[in-house]
């Protein structure tokens, strides 16, 4: 039985606070939808759970199956059964898709997977997610179309078979068939031990997956949670009604960031 427990979480990015006292609990077999206006900390939460070094946890705790996630490295979190499907999957020069997938599978095994078994598994998963096999020798995500990148994320999820999937706007860039494929893959994973946290701005994906829980995040805090009807309400009315009801301001974003004017010097090289 897998379980994610987040308590009183505060997260800074470059000294700006993005997550402000967030609580969340996800149990095995549950599908949680995380919705909220642009820039209010949805992706930040997922990156933090997965352990991106730029997201600095200043307070609070995250536990997964009783393990203190904040003490774990990114790869340990992955091996513990967590998976992040990113909003913007990166292009990685010099690393072929198939080599990478093999390394990722082997990283969680004691003995390397046999080539035969790997190819079989890869081919069957590729077929399920509609990932063109010809692309497997190309560099990871390099020159992939928006939808192809998203399919590749789902392919990785299927291959790695996580206990908890954090899925960030998988529907942006996917065509209609792609969306149905994602829903099918996720629904089929629900048969086993699996739970997920899904971010989307559109009700279409949620209609297909039917979340058991829905949370609305404003200014880095979950202001209200409910069932599927919350998605319908937001779909019809937007987020404005929350301001009165919960005494929050959706546009105070601007005031929050006082330190503009810093020049973003990119010290690291991307891929040459």
């Amino acid at each position: 039985m897998s379980k994610l427990v987040i308590k009183d979480l505060y997260v800074n990015v470059d000294d700006i606070s993005i997550i402000n006292g967030l609580n969340l609990e996800i149990n095995d077999g549950e599908v949680h939808a995380l919705i909220g206006p642009n820039g209010h900390g949805k992706s930040t939460l997922l990156f933090t759970i997965m352990g991106h070094p730029r997201y600095n946890v200043v307070k609070g705790s995250i536990y997964f199956n009783g393990q203190d996630v904040l003490k774990m490295t990114v790869d340990e979190r992955s091996k513990a059964g967590m998976f992040l499907a990113m909003q913007n999957p990166l292009e990685i020069n010099g690393v072929s898709t198939i080599d990478f997938l093999k390394s990722a599978l082997n990283a969680r095994r004691d003995t390397p997977i046999s080539l035969y078994k790997f190819v079989k598994e890869f081919e069957s998963c590729s077929k399920d997610v509609g990932f063109n096999l010809d692309m497997s020798t190309r560099n990871l995500n390099e020159g992939f179309s928006g939808g192809e990148k998203k399919r590749n994320e789902i392919l990785q999820m299927k291959l790695l078979n996580p206990l908890l999937s954090l899925i960030d706007e998988i529907d942006s860039g996917l065509d209609v068939d792609g969306l149905e494929m994602v829903a099918k893959v996720i629904n089929s994973m629900m048969d086993g031990s699996f739970s997920c946290l899904i971010i989307s701005h559109y009700s279409k994906l949620y209609k297909l997956i039917k979340p058991t829980h829905v949370h609305i995040i404003i200014n880095g805090k979950i202001v209200t949670s409910g069932d599927y009807s919350l998605i319908e309400k937001v779909d019809n009315e937007g987020y404005k009604w929350l301001e009165k009801e919960f005494n929050v301001s959706i546009n105070k974003q601007e005031n929050k960031r006082v330190s503009i004017g810093t020049c973003n010097v990119k010290e690291s090289v991307n891929n040459g």
Binding site: H52, T73, V74, R77, S78, G94, V95, N139, G272
Partner: protein, 263 residues
Amino acid sequence: MDKIIVSDNSISKELTINKDCYLLINEDVQTKEYKINIINCKATIIDMSKTLKKNLYFENSETMVIEIINEKESSDLFINNVNSKIEYNIIDLENSNLRYVLKEEVKDEGSTDINIASVGYKKKNKEYVVNTSNLSPRTTNNINCFGIVKDKSLVKYDVSSFIKKGAKEAIVKQNSNILLFDKESCGQNNPILLIEENDVKANHGSSIGKIDDDIVFYLCSRGLSKLEATNLICLGKVEYLVNKIDDESIRDSLINKFKERVS
């Protein structure tokens, strides 16, 4: 295609190749200097020797050379390209200081690609001085340098390209990327373009820095350790040169050597 394997010092004087061939210069070749002329043919040369000074003359030919740096502290190479298509690749995984001077001249409508991949580790200095000259119209020089530096080492690329007056429509591209593994290590790119002609295309790009956090994170989020992730990224950069080698056993031994180097 002829296969010529040189495994003693018979190459020492001068070798002229004028029919298509595959030339393998073995690692036990210890000669100080050699000259190879490649004329009116296609050739592949794999050079694993300890030769310090090399003189290559190409005329109306198409050649790929892969030089694998082997236990030496200096290397001197002169490439003379007359109407030929040449790709010169240098793979340097050696645990020694190295100063490598490469001079190149291209004439008629020749084109030269120079690719260098160098790993500096265990407090070693790797210094590459590359001088290219486009001496006639429509000649091309394409120089790509890649470095990985760790353990207080240095990788330095001084790349200077000259385009002579009258070399209209000449093309020069310089690119140097150096990845630093730790704060004590150092990378230097010193690109110079000397251009006497107006009607040319010349550019250079360079970067020095640590591997992008976002990329490492992406790979780690799939279960690769930080070390495995950085290895995979670096391997990719070197592998594209190594994969040009036909011989699987040479390829494998280089990849294994590389993995040892960066881990």
